[in-house]
């Protein structure tokens, strides 16, 4: 059971990569997990080509699973293009996390990915799968 908090998860939780805010970010969005009230904001800056992610950062608060998965995500997307990231599958991230998750904890693990996709969708018009549309709506309402 303690696999859930295996070393790499705890390491990312305690020493998150890409934690912080990018002032004047090229793309950003924030989202919330309504089940638990956890919030995450994601900031992206692009290289000169306007497509390749130079840096991605996140801020907010959440459980070990959400913080660690978002931290891993920030590392994963660096150097990829916006359209590549818009196609990045949940499974690819979950494989990186590498632990079996219950449906409730899946929502924790995938919040950051959803918010990142919303940020890219808004700035670059990349496709936003229907399952993340709610995050986009929520942002517009608030």
């Amino acid at each position: 059971m303690e696999d859930l908090y295996r070393e790499v998860i705890l390491d990312h939780y305690k020493n998150p990569r890409g934690h912080g805010v990018i002032e004047d970010a090229d793309a950003s969005a924030e989202g919330m997990n309504p089940l638990c009230g956890d919030e995450v904001a994601i900031y992206v800056s692009f290289e000169d080509d306007g497509e390749t992610i130079e840096e991605a950062k996140f801020s907010g608060r959440g459980c070990a699973i959400s913080q660690a998965s978002t931290s891993m995500l920030m590392e994963m997307v660096q150097g990829r293009t916006a359209s590549e990231v818009s196609e990045l599958s949940k499974d690819e991230l979950l494989e990186e996390i590498g632990i079996p998750l219950t449906p409730i904890r899946l929502k924790c693990a995938l919040l950051g990915l959803g918010v990142l996709k919303v940020a890219l969708h808004r700035t670059k018009g990349t496709p936003l799968p229907a399952e993340w549309a709610g995050l986009d709506e929520e942002f517009k309402v608030s």
Partner: protein, 414 residues
């Protein structure tokens, strides 16, 4: 297991009534510490519902055949029991709903929407569950009424000093508060609030979902105008709840749901409403659930409300003392003498989800999240808290296991 309880309640014996508690979770005996979310059900309640389905089930208030009469008698008998349980002057003032939330919506729509205007104020508390917050916020917006919140002290209790300032801002028409906070366990001074509400010419609306299962509640002694609660938090089934309202107010109100059963006469030109309580009970009610609701009342009366209140007081006092010794724990809420059987806390550097996850490994079930109290979470400056909540079947050694689990979480997260 060091706790001494003075109460005439034998939790170990009562647990035999609860089949669900006789199981292991992750190889450990289930320690169910989430009764504030929903209580477990004793065999007596389950049997009453099964018996009803097997012997007496039919739709109520319609058929003239024997079975329909039997069903109606069981349903209305349950209403009598539930009404007496909160000392309602008449069972006609006791409306069956799906849950407390629906009861509060019934009041917000049926009473609030019709009686509020731009000059008026609706007053809620910073401690409200969303069910007694969001409907009033919505109705205030719809009617143009002002929306105010009674703030909290640092111990999570209502700051009644703010009442005068609120009253000076407009005509207070509705005051909505819970009797016991689901998030902190705070027992609110509803009698005082009701007296203040009436001085302002306002109606007092009470969310008693966390109170009715755990202590004797008397709508007349409280002096409130509406009071809502749920069966599922008091050992009854989900899908049934009740709202009591003062008859003169209920009679003045428009119905909330429209349709079958709630009418007197339907014609193309016009429909007239039925009498109380039927005016507010459109469609087929949760019939077997109401029967289970009545059986839950019987069960709690048999155990004794005073014994339950005393027992939970002893449990929470014990829990607060034990938990205070956990390194890096932050406890929320008032001292035991002013709180019900709820312990709310956070662990430094460990998110509530992760605390609850580690406790689950130990078979200990607690709640982690915002508890449908986001305004309170904002006041506390957190996104979420942990909550352990107790009931008549909770054992002191389950609190010991909770404390041990918190120490394990500390070990995992450092």
């Amino acid at each position: 297991m060091a706790v001494e309880t003075r109460a005439a309640l034998d939790a170990r014996k009562l647990r035999a009534d609860f089949p669900i508690l006789q199981q292991e979770i992750n190889g450990k005996p289930l320690a169910y510490l989430d009764s504030a979310a929903t209580a477990q059900k004793p065999r007596q309640v389950l049997d009453a519902m099964t018996h009803f389905y097997e012997t007496s089930h039919a739709n109520v208030h319609r058929g003239v055949y024997t079975l329909a009469e039997r069903a109606t008698e069981a349903f209305e008998g349950a209403r009598e029991k539930v009404a007496r349980f909160v000392n309602a002057p008449s069972s006609r003032e006791l409306i069956f709903t799906r849950n407390a939330t629906e009861g509060l919506n019934l009041v917000a729509y049926g009473y609030g929407l019709a009686s509020l205007g731009p000059e008026d104020l609706v007053v809620v508390t910073e401690l409200e569950h969303h069910s007694n917050f969001v409907p009033w916020q919505y109705v205030a917006k719809r009617t143009g009424a002002g929306f105010r919140m009674i703030s909290l002290t640092d111990t999570g209790e209502l700051d009644l000093d703010s009442l005068d300032a609120i009253a000076a801002e407009g005509q207070v028409k509705v005051v909505a508060a819970n009797l016991v906070s689901n998030a902190l366990g705070t027992v609110n001074p509803v009698e005082r609030l009701a007296a203040w509400a009436h001085e302002q010419g306002a109606a007092m609306v009470v969310d008693a979902a966390q109170a009715v299962p755990h202590r004797a509640v008397d709508v007349q002694a409280l002096g409130c105008d509406f009071l809502a609660f749920s069966a599922h938090k008091m050992c009854g089934p989900s899908g049934a709840g009740a709202v009591w309202g003062r008859r003169e107010l209920l009679e003045r109100m428009e119905p909330f749901n429209l349709g079958g059963h709630m009418i007197r006469k339907v014609q193309f030109e016009e429909t007239t409403w039925g009498d109380l309580p039927h005016k507010f009970e459109a469609g087929t009610s949760p019939i077997a659930e109401a029967v289970g609701f009545g059986a839950a009342v019987d069960y709690l009366l048999e155990v004794g409300l005073e014994a339950i209140e005393q027992y939970e007081h002893d449990l929470v006092a014990y829990a607060l003392e034990r938990m205070a010794a956990v390194p890096g724990i932050q406890m929320y809420g008032p001292p035991p003498e002013r709180r019900a059987g709820i312990a709310a806390f956070n662990m430094d550097g460990i998110h509530p989800h992760d605390v609850a996850q580690v406790l689950d490994w130990e078979g200990v079930a607690i709640r982690a999240g915002h508890h449908c109290c986001q305004p309170l979470m904002t006041r506390l400056g957190v996104a979420a808290t942990n909550r352990a909540s107790f009931y008549l079947y909770t054992l002191p050694d389950e609190i010991d296991r909770l404390t041990d689990g918190l120490l394990r979480a500390r070990k995992v997260f450092g």
